[in-house]
């Protein structure tokens, strides 16, 4: 017993010396990582204790740890009012639509671009199709407003010139899921297709040439060579996207709908927009934090799960 204790002590000392040596040997590499490490500590790790707000009745005067502790009351309220469920449903359904529709269209687009032989046409069309990805979320809101608004929108101009009555799109809640999905597809499809396009280009050209010599038509080539070769990429991207299904695209939703058009909220409110509004417009930091924490926890579980599935399929692609 005594000997073992002494042995442990020696080991610990030896260990500490070793660590000291390792640090001394690598001190420059450590210093090189220091700014980034500090950055993440300051902006991501330091706010973590603030999660406590979700369990308090936060008020500005008492601060985070001075405000009265209320346990799970904030969560209970959100559950009972049905808000949490509605937000989760919207966020998940929108993401499912974005992921499924988005990936399918990206694959179709990549295959079609691959069929194009005229090189300048390919180049120009790709440049144009990537363009929407590079503009700010604010501009997406502007472009949508320009087309959809009641008084001067291009769509209503068209409707008026056809002799019909213009429509108040910004007060029709039911139509917004389609508009939002359309905007997302408009912005992401061109850029997202690059990954698939790259893996089509990576297919061994001998296989395709052999198929052509054997008289395979374009369609057969797509069906039996290209599509199967895209399957792994598709599955992996899909799984990772599903891991992020609790996270919404705040910029897109916020700029399309705005903070005040509440008649659209039942169909368009996602977790992020709710969290933001509760915080900035109502100054209700406790509720906002509670929803944020709920999102972080379930988001974490989902990423872990999807990564576990990816690891089962192909460990090379797993994130960790």
């Amino acid at each position: 017993m005594k000997a073992k204790g002494k042995n442990q002590g020696v080991q610990a000392l030896w260990h500490r010396k070793l660590i000291g040596k390792v640090i001394r040997d690598n001190h420059i590499l450590i210093l090189m990582c220091l700014p980034a490490t500090l950055f993440f500590i300051i902006f991501f790790y330091c706010p973590l204790p603030g999660i406590y707000i979700a369990f308090t009745n936060y008020n500005f005067r008492d601060g985070i740890f001075g405000s009265p502790f209320v346990g799970f009351k904030n969560f209970e309220f959100l559950m009972k009012s049905g808000q949490l469920w509605a937000l989760t449903r919207n966020t998940v359904l929108y993401n499912l639509a974005f992921i499924l529709l988005g990936n399918v269209l990206q694959i179709i687009l990549a295959i079609m671009v691959n069929e194009i032989r005229c090189s300048w046409f390919k180049k120009v069309s790709q440049t144009i199709m990537f363009l929407p990805y590079f503009i700010s979320a604010v501009l997406i809101g502007v472009l949508a407003f320009n087309i959809l608004n009641y008084d001067t929108g291009a769509l209503n101009t068209l409707i008026r010139s056809a002799g019909a009555n213009p429509v108040k799109i910004y007060s029709m809640a039911g139509i917004w899921p389609f508009i939002i999905i359309l905007c997302n597809i408009w912005q992401q499809t061109g850029y997202g297709s690059i990954v698939y396009f790259a893996s089509i280009c990576g297919i061994d050209s001998q296989i395709i040439e052999a198929a052509e010599v054997d008289g395979a038509t374009s369609w057969q080539r797509i069906r039996y060579i290209i599509l199967p070769s895209l399957k792994p990429t598709f599955i992996i991207l899909m799984l990772f996207a599903l891991g992020g299904i609790m996270k919404g695209n705040f910029g897109l939703f916020y700029n399309l709908i705005g903070p005040a058009n509440s008649q659209l909220f039942p169909n368009t409110d996602i977790i992020e927009t709710f969290v933001f509004r509760t915080m900035m417009n109502q100054n209700n930091f406790a509720t906002s934090s509670a929803v944020g924490l709920y999102q972080s926890v379930f988001g974490f579980i989902l990423v872990m799960f999807s990564n576990w599935v990816v690891r089962k399929i192909d460990p090379d692609y797993a994130l960790f």
């Binding site: 503009i135 700010s136 604010v138 502007v142 472009l143 408009w186 052509e212 038509t217 374009s218 910029g251």
Partner: protein, 299 residues
């Protein structure tokens, strides 16, 4: 059309034609909103109010642009803020990311996995909007400071991973040869590695620059109306969202809202705020492509 001596079959021709048509259609759909915006910005406010926007400018007029630059200090100030942040943020962020990315892929660096996970973890679990907001504004005391925007956009875990993947392709022998010459790791990084990372620096730098140029979110949270000159996209956001804002940002003078060509002015502001990035973009496009193909799956 002949390829490898094999004649194109009818089915192949059909697939080709459909592809051309669909790609052309989708390209036009991508371009259309931009054309609408540009034509709206050159339209005459009076006709627009009566008839609405169309694909072609209605009654060509530069009045909206005249208003955008009527009090040039406002818009030029915004440009100044955004350009300054973009230039300095990209340079500083790029340097820090490259340094970290290189160190984290060094196989002889014992802490590489621990530190990589430490950085990556922030994408898995975060405190959320409200605790972060309280921390940054109340404890870091950055509310109303450009630093709140500048600092938070300096790096992302995804860009560090991207850089790490790029740096991995630089042969270890180069680091070793530097060690042989007695150079320390930082000197090896600066003199030997950095020049070899040029494509990576272009790609990561462009993502950083785009992040700064398109920034509006942190500005909305932390700057609000506390600063005289808003970053460009946030300035656009304010012009779009509040008529009152429109009036006050136009230096308040004795203008009534009805004098303002508010519909066309919004579009002209959008064109001015987006213009430079759209003109630059075709030249830098290929670097973004390498970004998504190298960083897509992992990250």
């Amino acid at each position: 059309m002949k390829k490898n001596g094999v004649k194109m079959t009818a089915s192949t021709a059909v697939v080709r034609i459909i592809s051309y048509i669909c790609v052309m259609f989708f390209s036009l759909m991508c371009l259309m909103p931009f054309l609408l915006m540009i034509s709206a910005s050159f339209s005459d406010e009076g006709i627009i109010t009566r008839e609405g926007f169309g694909l072609l400018p209605k009654g060509f007029s530069l009045a909206a642009y005249g208003w955008v630059f009527r009090y040039p200090k406002v818009i030029l100030g915004s440009y100044g803020v955004t350009i300054t942040m973009t230039v300095f943020g990209t340079i500083l962020g790029l340097f820090l990311i490259a340094m970290t990315g290189y160190a984290l892929q060094r196989q002889d660096f014992p802490f590489r996995n621990a530190l990589s996970f430490f950085i990556y973890f922030t994408t898995l679990f975060s405190a959320g909007m409200a605790p972060t907001y309280i921390w940054v504004s109340r404890y870091l005391n950055l509310k109303g400071s450009y630093m709140a925007v500048f600092l938070q956009l300096l790096m992302t875990p995804w860009l560090i991973i991207l850089m790490k993947n790029f740096a991995r392709s630089v042969p270890y022998e180069i680091t070793e040869s530097g060690k042989m010459d007695g150079a320390d790791d930082f000197k090896i990084f600066i003199t030997l590695i950095l020049p070899m990372l040029k494509p990576a620096l272009a790609t990561v730098g462009l993502f950083l620059a785009l992040g700064y140029w398109n920034e509006w979110y942190n500005s909305m949270l932390y700057l609000g109306s506390a600063v005289t000159y808003k970053p460009l996209q946030y300035y656009l956001y304010s012009i779009i969202n509040t008529a009152a804002q429109l009036k006050s940002s136009m230096a308040g003078a004795a203008i009534t809202i009805t004098d303002l060509p508010s519909n066309t002015l919004k579009m002209a502001t959008a064109v001015v705020a987006t213009g430079p990035i759209i003109f630059l973009y075709p030249f830098v496009q290929r670097y973004f492509i390498s970004g998504i193909t190298i960083g897509a799956v992992k990250g």
